[in-house]
């Protein structure tokens, strides 16, 4: 038997490989689209980018959707979906307000922790039902979407949290900036970085991809499929909970209708960012850029002077375009891989 190494794995230097993979990545294409949108809107109206408000809004507005999209991505990677995040956001946003109203002087950190904990619990319920009930996540989370929303409705009723109920220190978070970056955006960025780092470097993160890529194979590999899927839902819930607290800080008012329909935007952001809806591939970085693009396009279209109807249609077109692009790219990739195999 020949023991000489027939494989030459590093014909290409690591740096060059990294550069090529970044340039060719799906995420970079979305960044390009985002920059183009910003450029066009800025060309029409300088204030879109070159004013303190414009700059702040550009960074601040996506912070809520970004958190949801990151959580959604973690779930979608495992070939599931979490539709309950909008209702989870509403519940924790209202909880945040109530805590300040009922316990004046409560530390802000405690409120953040309470929001994340609440979100995690709601995510845990989803996770248990999906992992052990063996019912598709689409159905389970559609159910909890209504249940969680129902809880907000009966808890809040027609009550509404107003900015005057909230402490100044908390509301200041919505406007405060560090090095001209809004604090809420920083919160989103930190969450994004942590989740992205985990998915890339931890065994648990890679297993999420494996599970989504082929659930049956994952069982044969001896991976703890149920536990991983469950934790993906807990992460999604926790991030939705965090997004709820951020929501209250950003807007100052919370009614029972907070975050209505935002779960579909979160799914859309992930899909636009190149996360495969059948799991196994995609990154939170892509989903984050997708959420920024989605929000920015919504702000840019009125500036460019496009009527309301077309604003929604453009978002739809973006999602369809992203899916078609993925199909074309993956077909091309599959063909190239087969060719590479036949050539060797």
């Amino acid at each position: 038997m020949s023991t000489d190494l027939m494989v030459a794995p590093s014909r290409v230097s690591p740096v060059r490989r990294a550069v090529t993979s970044v340039v060719r990545s799906r995420e970079i294409a979305i960044v390009g689209v985002l920059l183009a949108v910003i450029a066009v809107a800025t060309y029409k109206s300088n204030a879109f980018l070159f004013s303190s408000n414009g700059w702040r809004d550009l960074l601040l507005t996506p912070s809520i959707l970004l958190l949801l999209a990151v959580g959604q991505t973690v779930v979608i990677i495992t070939r599931n979906v979490d539709l309950s995040v909008g209702s989870t956001l509403a519940l924790t946003a209202y909880l945040t307000g109530r805590l300040f109203v009922d316990h004046p002087g409560i530390p802000i950190v405690v409120v953040f922790a309470a929001g994340v904990l609440m979100g995690s619990l709601l995510g845990l319920v989803n996770g248990i039902l999906v992992a052990f009930g063996k019912v598709p996540a689409l159905v389970i989370t559609l159910g909890t979407l209504y249940i969680y929303r129902g809880i907000v409705l009966s808890w809040a009723g027609s009550d509404r949290i107003n900015a005057s109920d909230l402490p100044h220190g908390f509301l200041a978070l919505g406007t405060k900036q560090i090095l001209s970056i809004p604090v809420l955006t920083l919160i989103g960025a930190v969450a994004l970085a942590l989740v992205g780092y985990y998915l890339w470097t931890a065994r648990g993160g890679r297993e999420l991809y494996a599970i989504g890529s082929d659930p049956d194979a994952a069982v044969l590999y001896g991976l703890k499929v149920n536990r991983r899927v469950l934790s993906a839902f807990v992460v999604s819930g926790a991030l939705a909970g965090l997004a709820g607290v951020v929501y209250t800080a950003r807007y100052g008012t919370v009614s029972s209708g907070a975050g209505l329909g935002i779960e579909l935007q979160a799914v859309g952001a992930a899909v636009i960012g190149g996360v495969a809806i059948f799991g196994g591939s995609g990154t939170v970085w892509g989903a984050a850029v997708g959420s920024i693009l989605l929000v920015t396009i919504n702000r840019a279209l009125p500036v460019v002077g496009i009527p309301d109807f077309w604003q929604r249609a453009v978002v739809g077109g973006l999602i369809l375009g992203a899916v078609c692009l993925d199909r074309v790219l993956s077909a091309r990739r599959a063909r190239k891989l087969v060719e590479a195999r036949d050539a060797s």
Partner: protein, 515 residues
């Protein structure tokens, strides 16, 4: 029961690593394994042979922790064990290569090998550089050139199998089970695999090797265990047995009389397949089926039998060649054209491909002919029932009413519904893939009698079957498919278990596997 402890492991050469005795496993009413017995010693390669359905794969899955045994003894490294998951058997030191590669297409080749046990650095992060190097080392040892960084997507079956083998080797297991690892490999790759297997044996590990290729069994293995119908038959030293002896133990019974096929007058040529070719799947397939004739496509799973049938019916495209029905050429890749020309196709997996499991019996039976039943584009359940009734009656589908859901019926009755569905189209040719898979013995006989009757009425039947007795009992003519080619055309009178098996396994044309 005491939990398995790897530290207690005693590894003297010749000591039993794996010991299974009288293992039973049933799925519902079907006993897949009646008395599984297998004893594998350290430092040996043990062959496990038997026909399709002999219970080999079930045995493997019990060892792997996929299934739990109903009763019997299962000892590993001298300790009684009972694995409840694949993770437990892996941790105990058992690596299994399954018949079908189980890979994650989206992930890199390296990640596929190390998933769940990636090398970590000091901060518990995955050490990708070390992982890729280790993968490259494994491929070097196997002597193959696969880029460890490429995704598993798009790899050939042979390459996928290599990755499975690399994965198993990297587990550093004391027992390595290989369920038909060579089915997709070329001669050179088989040689390399054997070299690796021998070096693993010489390190004192135990290997179980399942294969249909006798030349490989004799070239590689030290001992052989034969199974039949879920039962243990015998274990022999490889040097003290021969191919004819093994085949007779595998087949074991007189099979000719089990399935009486009534002789029928052969009529005109109904189906004519000429030089059908599909790159990498099957090559130069030419044969005819006459009215009243049952032709069986025999061969191993993965030999290309089902793919040929799917191409004839137009489900899959083919590269070159032609398919004619009653002299008229059928457009390729067009199932509707095939149906119009009088073909009917009953696929292998009836739940997924043949039945609307949530639909009623009547809806299923009327499924293909619904266009003809509709009046002004509307289809009433009355029309469906009227059309379905006679067929369900003739096939004695046991169900309380025609509006019962197909999913609530037994496998045998479901198969009858699928057959009824296609008979309702009044076909000239019936292609049926695995007509009695997962069906109880009584219904099996009914399906066989029905097929025989239909042939008697002048229907041409092309049957694909992995069950040798069924092939020998039912077919007027046996076409044996081996590696995508028709390797033998055997008339009923000359068809024996030995002649079909040796044509299917290529036993006469030995590969270069032996050294």
């Amino acid at each position: 029961m005491k939990p398995f402890n790897k530290a207690d492991l005693v590894q003297e050469p010749g000591s039993l690593v794996l010991e299974l005795r009288d293992v039973r496993k049933s799925f519902g009413a079907v006993a897949a394994l009646r008395s599984g017995t297998l004893a594998v010693a350290a430092g040996s390669i043990h062959a496990l042979v038997g026909e399709n359905g002999a219970g080999k794969s079930t045995l493997v899955k019990i060892v792997a922790g996929v299934h739990r045994l109903d009763s019997g003894v299962f000892r590993f490294q001298g300790q009684d064990v009972e694995f409840t998951s694949t993770a437990e058997s892996k941790a105990a030191g058992i690596a299994v290569i399954y018949q079908e590669p189980t890979l994650f297409p989206d992930l890199s080749v390296t990640e596929n090998i190390f998933m769940g046990r990636q090398p970590l650095d000091g901060f518990r992060r995955i050490d990708r550089a070390a992982m890729h190097d280790e993968a490259a080392g494994l491929f070097g040892r196997l002597g193959v050139a696969i880029d460890p960084r490429r995704p598993a997507l798009g790899l050939s079956i042979a390459d996928q199998q290599i990755i499975e083998i690399a994965k198993a080797i990297s587990l550093d297991a004391s027992l390595l089970v290989m369920d038909e690892p060579t089915a997709a490999l070329s001669g050179v790759e088989v040689d390399r695999l054997f070299a690796v297997a021998r070096s693993l044996r010489d390190e004192g590990r135990a290997l179980v090797f399942i294969s249909h290729r006798f030349d490989e069994v004799f070239a590689l293995c030290d001992t052989v265990t034969v199974m039949r119908d879920g039962e243990y038959i015998a274990t022999n030293d490889i040097s003290k047995t021969s191919v004819p002896e093994m085949v007779s133990m595998m087949v074991g019974r007189e099979v000719g009389e089990l399935f009486p096929k009534t002789p029928a007058e052969l009529g005109e040529v109904v189906l004519e397949v000429n030089g059908l070719d599909s790159t990498g799947v099957f090559h130069d397939v030419t044969f005819q089926v006459r009215a009243g004739e049952i032709v069986a496509l025999a061969g191993l799973v993965g030999s290309g039998r089902s793919e040929i049938a799917r191409a004839i019916f137009g489900v899959d495209a083919y590269g070159s060649g032609s398919v004619r029905m009653a002299g008229k050429q059928i457009a390729p890749h067009r199932p509707r054209a095939a149906i119009r020309a009088g073909m009917a196709f009953i696929p292998e997996d009836r739940r997924k491909q043949g039945l609307i499991t949530d639909g009623s019996v009547a809806r299923n039976v009327a499924g293909v002919i619904r266009g003809g039943l509709a009046r002004a584009g509307l289809l009433t359940s009355g029309a469906e029932n009227r059309a379905a009734g006679p067929w369900a009656g003739r096939l004695e589908v046991k169900t309380s009413a025609l509006d019962a859901k197909a999913s609530t019926m037994s496998g045998g009755n479901q198969q009858k519904v699928v057959i009824a569905k296609w008979l309702a189209t009044k076909p000239k040719l019936l292609i049926i893939d695995e007509p009695t898979r997962g069906i109880d013995v009584g219904t099996k006989a009914e399906v066989h009698r029905l097929l025989s009757e239909l042939a008697g009425e002048g229907l041409a039947i092309l049957m694909i079957s992995s069950e040798l007795p069924e092939v020998l009992g039912m077919a007027d003519r046996v076409l044996v498919v081996s590696e995508g080619r028709i390797s033998a055309d055997i008339a009923r009178a000359d068809a024996t278990a030995e002649s079909v098996m040796s044509a299917a396994t290529g036993a006469d044309t030995a590969t270069e596997a032996s050294r």
